[in-house]
């Protein structure tokens, strides 16, 4: 019962982390020079949803995270939904060949995904006819933002890993629990 309850709390916990990260992203990086060093923290959530959740569940979480981002921006509605979904689908596709053994690999993936997300943003803005004055700013921020997102990702992935562990979403924890259960069943521990 306790386990089931904890499993149910995973998605609200995931969304709550997304909300807190959005608040941090928008409230801390207000003034100069921090306004030039704003990471895209929600992108880490999308990557986690892409690689650690099922296709349907990850996709729905990506849409929700994209919507949260749009509520805290003057970006045209749908822009972040498009870019985040593109990253989610890209990561899902790459997951067939991608091996992420440690957090360093996650950091490298975040770096690439952050730059890709900005380029998708630019493409969508170009389609909307709003990219004329946007490309210079985006290209200027492309690498610094990606580096900061990757660095911030180290802590975010640890946090998400912790969430998955305590809510029994992590495969290793699941296996350990089932082993324990087997021990209880077979050996009477």
């Amino acid at each position: 019962m306790n386990r089931l309850l904890r499993q149910l709390l995973n998605t609200p916990g995931f969304l709550l982390i997304a909300l807190v990260l959005t608040a941090i992203q928008s409230a801390v990086f207000i003034s100069f020079p921090l306004n030039w060093l704003q990471p895209e923290l929600l992108l880490c959530m999308v990557l986690w949803a892409g690689l650690k959740r099922s296709f349907t569940r990850g996709g729905i979480l990506t849409l929700l995270v994209g919507h949260i981002a749009e509520l805290h921006s003057t970006a045209p509605q749908g822009l972040f939904l498009c870019s985040m979904m593109a990253i989610f689908l890209g990561v899902r596709l790459a997951s067939r060949v991608l091996v992420l053994p440690d957090f360093h690999a996650w950091t490298r993936l975040t770096l690439i995904a952050s730059m890709a997300a900005k380029l998708v943003d630019l493409i969508v803005m170009a389609v909307l006819g709003k990219a004329d004055s946007q490309w210079r700013h985006s290209l200027l921020h492309l690498f610094p933002d990606a580096v900061l997102t990757a660095l911030a990702g180290i802590w975010i992935y640890r946090l998400l890993y912790w969430l998955d562990r305590i809510t029994f979403q992590d495969l290793k924890t699941e296996k350990r629990l089932s082993d324990d259960w087997q021990l209880v069943e077979n050996e009477g521990f």
């Binding site: 981002a69 003057t74 045209p76 979904m85 004055s133």
Partner: protein
């Protein structure tokens, strides 16, 4: 039917995941939408966190600055006393000028006088993306703030209210790509539309190539949009690129407000003419 749905579950889900953002972006190009009830719940969770973080940052920076600048207080005090004396003299002169101005206005029968009812609000957050320049204020509908109200500082135009909740409001700033303000060149009275360029800069569009615009010219709001009162500084012309051909010229504008240092703003609730 259910058998087919099960068989093509992945394809259907993929199709929906691609379709939803497309529909969202399509509807957004037609009309910007306000917050829905569930959006307001989300904002009610994030805005207190944003306020708290901003308060914490503000206090930390203030404490650090107070400590660092303490040694310089005496020197600064002397300088301020001197400035205060000079300003008092200037105020006396300005009072005289104001009286003269009032007398002349009465003589000319100039009765229009702009009265502004404003609300002071604090910036608690910026845009979640570096590509856009929204600001979130700590006052909302309960303070009388509504959509499309003008937001200014003593330096000039900040932007307009985009969306509101009871306790917060979002501002689309003039440096945002989605912003456009009708402006007049204070010197030559040439008109144009000031649009955001994201990169802390704006551009004056639809200014004819033959129009008299030079670097250093101050642009003020024309008052035509009905949002901004007339005469509020929008920015200063920083660069003029006039080609030997074409209809218009490229004019770069530096906003009057420094958006990297903005802390408090005024929201104009009502403009009355008497």
């Amino acid at each position: 039917m259910i058998k087919y749905l099960r068989e093509y579950r992945f394809q259907i889900t993929l199709f929906l995941f691609v379709l939803i953002p497309m529909i969202a972006i399509d509807t957004s190009t037609r009309a910007p939408r306000d917050y829905r009830f569930y959006d307001r719940w989300v904002i009610s969770i994030t805005s207190p966190i944003q306020s708290s973080l901003q308060w914490l940052l503000d206090r930390s920076v203030s404490a650090f600055q107070n400590y660092v600048y303490l040694w310089n207080t005496r020197k600064e005090n002397l300088l301020l006393t001197e400035t205060n004396r000079r300003l008092l003299a200037e105020i006396g002169q300005l009072r005289e000028t104001q009286q003269e101005n009032l007398r002349l206005r009465t003589l000319l029968g100039f009765q229009e006088k702009l009265r502004l009812k404003t609300v002071i609000a604090r910036v608690i957050a910026t845009d979640a993306s570096t590509e856009f320049h929204a600001l979130r204020l700590n006052r909302g509908e309960l303070a009388g703030i509504q959509k499309d109200m003008a937001v200014v500082t003593p330096e000039g135009v900040v932007g307009r209210i985009l969306r509101t909740t009871p306790h917060t409001s979002d501002v689309v700033t003039i440096v945002d790509t989605l912003s456009a303000i009708d402006a007049i060149n204070e010197r030559s009275r040439v008109r144009g539309i000031v649009e955001g360029m994201t990169d802390d800069l704006c551009q004056l569009r639809f200014a004819l190539r033959t129009d008299d615009i030079a670097p250093g010219d101050v642009l003020i709001s024309s008052g035509l949009s009905g949002i901004f009162p007339k005469g509020v500084p929008v920015g200063m012309v920083s660069k003029v690129d006039r080609m030997p051909y074409g209809i218009t010229q490229q004019v770069e504008v530096k906003p009057a407000v420094d958006f990297s240092k903005i802390e408090e703003v005024q929201v104009i609730l009502k403009q009355e003419s008497s």
